[in-house]
Point group: C2
Chain length 600, copies 2
C-alpha cells in the first residue's frame, strides 16, 4: 500500500490562472477560430459596460491583422472613460479582478475573468504580451503598458510602462496576438450585427486586413445605466446572511432595512416578530440558530419583488421591432417585453420577438437569435434553455410546421436580462434551465405565436379571396363581349371593374369632348398616396382640382397632382384640353394599380 | 461623465471561493436535490482515486440522515490510505488544491475543486462546518477536524482538531450537512449502480435513513493505477514550452528526451536539425523565436502516440458485457474497446456496448449510459458529444427505429477514458465535441450496430420458423387421429414430435412392462443442462444410468440425475419398478420444455 505521506508530497495549490489555462475551453477558448471571437466579445463587453457607466456614446473600433501563417493581431479600441494606470495591470493581468462582481444589477461582464483570459490565451499560443493603452481624460497623457500574466501565481507582470501621446481624449485600447484563423469571419460579423441591434446607441467599426465594415448607431441616447440594488431577502443563503450580519454593528431591525432590497420598517418588524428576535440586538451578535430562524422567516414573509426598473435595462419592444425590420425586411414582426419576474431573489425580464417572411430563408429551421444582458449568444444553441423553451411550444398550433424547432421563414428572438443571468458555463454560451425564466419565455412566445397565427390566417384568407377574384376577372371580358353582342353595343372597357374586384387602385385618364378627365379610385382597404404626372400639350388651366405643380418644357406641360385617398374613395379632376401625351403614376407599386390612358 | 477614478474604487480582487460560491451551478450544485448527488459523487471519486493509487480494494460507505425539515447529513467513509493531518485542512477547505492537476494520466478528480466545493455548499446552505476524520495507518491515531472555508480568501478555517480512536485502520470520512431533498433518491441509487458496474473491484454500501443497500464487488483485483506520463510534443502550447524551457538547465537535446513523452535520441536530433537549433545549448537560454520554431517543428515531426497502456485504464469488453448482462438480463449484448487515439496530444480510448431486449423497456428512447474516466455522467445528456454521436448514426440501417435517439428496448453504453477528458463545464456533466473522440465513438457503435443487426435478423428468421412450426403442430393431433382411425390403431401421443418441431427439450417418463424409462431429447440448437427429480416408491436400483443422488423419505425415494446434453442428443435411463409418483425438472425454462409423465 502506498502511504499517505507519499501522496501528500504531490498535494499543492493550483492558481486560478493555471486552472483556466488548462481548462480554457470553459471560458470560450476551445479553438483558435473561436478564440478570436471570444477575445473581441470580451473587449466589447467591457467597453460597452464602461461607456454605459460613464454615460458616453460608445464608438468601438476592432482591427484584425494577419501577422503570420496562423497568427493574428487583434486590437479593440473604445472611447470609454479609460482605466486608472495603477489598475491597468490588474484589470488585464489577473483573473478574478473586477468591479461588478458584488453589484446586483444587469451588466455584461461580471466576474473579472474575460479579458484577462484573452491575455492568458494570447501568451499561451503566441508567447507575446498584451499591449494596453489607456487615457482617463484630456488633461492627462495616455499610458501604454506591455504585460503578461504569471500563470503560477495569477499576478500581472508588467514588461514596460510609459506615458505617450494618443489621439483619443479618453478611452482604452488592447492589442493581442495569437494563433488563430479567420474561418469564423462570417460569425464574427454576425456577432457585431446582433450586438449593434441590441445596442443601438453604439457604433462599431471593424477592419479585417484593411477591409472595413461599419455598424452605425441609430440612436443618440445613452440608455440609463442600471443601478446596483441591495440583495433581496428571498434570494439570500445562510452563509451570506451570516457574513453580512457578522460585518454589521447595526440593530437587526435597521440592518434588515439597510442591507436588503424592499425591506421597510413594517416588513422588518413583521419578520422579527415572527422569528421571535428582538429588533434591538446588534446584527453581529445573532447566534447561528437565530440566523437560521431569521433566514427561514425572511423567506416566508411576503415581500415585493426587487425593483427591476432600476437594476435592469431591457431593450424594449419598439427597438426590437425596428432592429429586426431593418435587418430582415420582414412581412410580419412583433415584440413583447414581459413584466419583470424573480428567481431565487434575482430580478429578470424576458423579451421576445417573432418575425416572418421577408429576407428569411423559406426552408429549414427557424432562425433563433438569443441574447443575455444585451449580448448575443453564438454557441451551444442546443444546450440553451431558450432553445429548449422554443422547442417545448406546439408551433403547429400557430400555423408553423415543426421538427423540434419551428420550420420555415420564421425568426425567433429571445432576450433574457437579469441581475444574475444563470449561464450553463463560464463561457456564457447558454442560459441554464430555470423554471421561472423558461415559463416567461414560453408565455412571451405563445402571445406572439397567436399574433403570428392571426397574420398567417389573414394572409391565407387574402390569398383565397385573390384567387377567386382572379377567376372572376378572367371571365369578365367574355361576359362583356357577349353582352355587347346581344345589345349590339361596342365592347366596354372592363379594366375598372377588374381593378375593383382585385382591390386595386385604378387610375384612368379620358377625353370627354373637349375636356380631359383624370380619375383615381382606391378599391383597396388601405389609404394610398400617389403622385400623378400628366404630360401633354394642354396647360391644365381651369382644372376642377388644380395641379399642385406645373412645369413647361419644349411646348409640353407637366401637370402634377399629389393625391391622398382613404380606402374606397375617389379623386376626379377635369380640365379643358385635347389630351394626348402621357400619364404616369409614382408612389404606388405597379402590382397594386391599374393605369388606363383611354385617349391614346 | 463618471470619471475613471470613481470606477477604480470598485475594482477589487475576487477569491476563487467567492467566484464558485456565486456560480455554484458551474460545479453541479444547481439545486438542493442535485447538491446531494454531487457531494456523494465528489467524495466517491476521491475515495476511488486514492484507493487505486494505494492499491487498496475500496470499501465505501455512504450514510444519509434527515436532520431537519429540509436538511440532511451526508457522510462518506472509505478505507483508503487516509490523508496526512497537516493536509486535511487544505484538501477539504481550499478550492484548487490537489495532487493530480499536473499529472498526465487518467483519474476521476483532477482540479482539486470538487470536495471543497461541497464543503462550501454545506456552509452556504446550512451554515455548518464539515467534519473530517482521517487515519493514515494502524500505528497512528485518527484525526478529527471540524473546518470551514473562509470565502473571501479561499483559505481553510479549522474550528477544532483532535486525535481520536477510530474503528478503521486507515481511511477517510467526511460528514456534511446541507439543505437538500431526497427527491433524487432513484438517481442516486442509479449513480451507485453504474459506478459499481465500471468499478467492479469496489464495494458500495448506502444507508438512507437507516435503510441499507449494498452494491457488492464482483472482482477481487485492484485495477492497475494509471501512471503519469510526460506531455506529448503534439499536445503542447507555446506558453507551456516557454515555461518548461525556462525552468531547465539541460541541453535542449536532453531536455526534449527527458521532458517529453515518446521523444528518443533520434527524434530529438531530427527536431533540432529541422529547427536549425544546436542541441548543445541550454534549454533556458533559447530565445522566444527559437522556441516558436522549436514548437512548430515538434508538431510537424512524426512522433508515436503517447503510451496509452500505462496512463489509461479502460474497463474492458468482458467486464462491460458482464456488468450489463447482470443488470439487465439482455437478449443481446456486445462490447467493443477501440484502439487508443490522440487529440491535441492527449491519449484517449473509447469503449462502447450495445444491449437489446431483456429487462429494457420496449417503448421510448434507448437507454443511454455515459461514462468518463470510470465515472457515470448523469446530467446534460443532450449537450454531450456522446449523445450527439449516437444521434448522428443512422440506426434504421441496423434495424432499430429512430427519432433523434434510437428507439425501443436498446441500451447504448459509451465510456471515454483520457488523460484529459474534455468536459463542457466544470460540473463534468457532458463531454465536449472533439472530432477525434466523436469519430471513435461512431466507429465503435457502427461495429456494434452491425452485430446487433445480425442478431435481430437471426431472431426474426427464428420467429418466422417458429410461427411455421406452430402452424404445423396445430394440425398434427388431427392428422394423428385421422391416421389412427384409418389404420384402426389407438391415437398415438404426438407431443414428442411437436417438441422436435418446436425445437424444445422433451422429457418423457414411461412404464414398459416392469421397467420405468426416462428419456430426454434435446431438440434445441444449444447444449442444455438440467436436473431430473424422479420421486416414487421405486428405489432406482439397477438403473442403466444410475442416479447421481438418491434420498429416501417416508417410503418414497427421490432419484436425481444431472443431465448435460449437446444439441440434438438424447439421454435414456431405465430401471426396474412400477412407476407412479412424480417427475420434475429443474434448470430449464418451462417454455423451452415438454414434460410427459406417461405412466400416471
Amino acid at each position: 500500500m502506498v502511504l499517505a505521506e507519499e501522496l501528500a508530497k504531490q498535494q499543492k495549490s493550483i492558481s486560478v490562472a493555471e486552472f483556466f489555462e488548462k481548462n480554457k475551453h470553459l471560458l470560450g477558448f476551445d479553438s483558435p477560430t473561436r478564440g478570436i471571437i471570444t477575445t473581441i466579445k470580451e473587449a466589447i463587453d467591457n467597453a460597452l459596460d464602461a461607456c454605459e457607466e460613464s454615460m458616453v456614446l460608445p464608438d468601438i473600433l476592432v482591427i484584425i491583422r494577419k501577422t503570420g501563417s496562423d497568427t493574428y493581431s487583434i486590437a479593440v479600441e473604445d472611447n470609454g472613460p479609460g482605466i486608472m494606470p495603477e489598475q491597468v495591470p490588474f484589470v488585464f493581468g489577473k483573473l478574478l479582478y473586477g468591479s461588478r462582481f458584488h453589484q446586483v444589477r444587469q451588466s455584461r461582464g461580471q466576474q473579472g475573468i474575460g479579458i484577462s483570459a484573452a491575455v492568458l490565451y494570447a501568451q499561451l499560443t503566441s508567447g507575446t504580451p498584451a499591449v494596453v493603452i489607456s487615457r482617463t481624460g484630456a488633461k492627462t497623457k495616455a499610458h501604454r503598458f506591455t504585460l503578461m500574466i504569471r500563470t503560477q501565481t495569477n499576478e500581472p507582470e508588467v514588461l514596460s510602462h510609459e506615458e505617450i501621446d494618443w489621439a483619443l481624449p479618453h478611452g482604452t485600447r488592447i492589442e493581442l496576438e495569437f494563433a488563430s484563423s479567420m474561418a469564423a469571419k462570417k460569425r464574427l460579423l454576425e456577432y457585431l450585427k446582433y450586438t449593434s441591434i441590441v445596442n443601438p446607441h453604439a457604433r462599431f467599426r471593424i477592419e479585417i486586413d484593411g477591409e472595413g465594415t461599419t455598424f452605425e448607431r441609430v440612436s443618440g441616447e445613452v440608455p440609463p445605466c442600471p443601478r446596483s440594488i441591495k440583495p433581496h431577502p428571498h434570494g439570500i443563503e445562510l452563509g451570506i446572511l451570516k457574513r453580512m450580519a457578522a460585518a454589521s454593528d447595526l440593530p437587526v431591525e435597521v440592518f434588515l432595512q439597510e442591507e436588503f432590497s424592499r425591506v421597510g420598517k413594517k416588513t422588518a418588524s413583521e419578520i422579527l416578530a415572527l422569528a421571535l428576535i428582538d429588533g434591538g440586538v446588534t446584527a453581529s451578535s445573532l447566534s447561528p440558530p437565530d440566523l437560521k430562524t431569521l433566514l427561514a422567516t425572511m423567506q416566508t414573509v411576503r415581500i415585493p419583488a426587487p425593483p427591476a426598473q432600476t437594476c435592469l435595462s431591457p431593450i424594449g419592444e419598439e427597438l426590437l421591432v425596428e432592429g429586426l425590420e431593418k435587418e430582415f425586411a420582414l412581412d410580419f414582426v412583433k415584440a413583447r417585453s414581459r413584466a419583470p419576474g424573480v428567481f431565487s431573489g434575482h430580478s429578470f425580464v424576458v423579451e421576445a420577438a417573432i418575425g416572418y417572411g421577408g429576407r428569411l430563408e423559406a426552408e429549414g429551421s427557424a432562425k433563433i437569435l438569443r441574447f443575455a444582458n444585451r449580448v448575443p449568444l453564438l454557441y451551444q444553441q442546443g444546450a440553451c434553455a431558450i432553445t429548449q423553451s422554443i422547442q417545448s411550444i406546439n408551433w403547429k398550433g400557430y400555423g408553423i410546421s415543426q421538427a423540434g424547432l419551428p420550420m420555415g421563414p420564421v425568426l425567433i428572438l429571445v432576450h433574457v436580462a437579469s441581475t444574475n443571468v444563470p449561464f450553463t458555463s463560464e463561457s456564457k454560451d447558454a442560459v441554464a434551465s430555470i423554471p421561472e425564466v423558461e415559463r416567461e419565455i414560453v408565455l412571451a412566445l405563445q402571445e406572439l405565436g397567436r399574433d403570428l397565427k392571426l397574420f398567417l390566417s389573414r394572409r391565407d384568407r387574402g390569398r383565397i379571396a385573390e384567387d377567386r377574384a382572379r377567376a372572376v376577372c378572367a371571365i369578365i371580358p367574355d361576359i362583356a363581349s357577349k353582352v355587347a353582342e346581344i345589345v349590339e353595343a361596342p365592347v366596354p372597357d372592363t379594366s375598372a371593374i377588374e381593378g375593383r374586384i382585385m382591390r386595386r387602385v385604378v387610375v384612368k385618364r379620358g377625353l370627354r369632348g373637349d375636356h380631359v378627365s383624370i380619375r383615381v379610385d382606391n378599391h383597396t382597404a388601405k389609404p394610398v398616396e400617389l403622385t400623378l404626372y400628366d404630360i401633354s400639350a394642354d396647360t391644365g388651366e381651369g382644372a376642377t382640382i388644380p395641379p399642385d405643380f406645373v412645369s413647361d418644357l419644349d411646348g409640353e406641360t407637366t401637370k402634377c397632382w399629389r393625391v391622398a385617398l382613404p380606402p374606397h374613395e375617389s379623386f376626379l379632376t377635369e380640365y379643358p384640353g385635347s389630351g394626348g401625351g402621357s400619364l404616369s403614376v409614382q408612389g404606388i407599386d405597379e402590382s397594386q394599380m391599374v393605369l388606363l390612358n383611354l385617349d391614346e
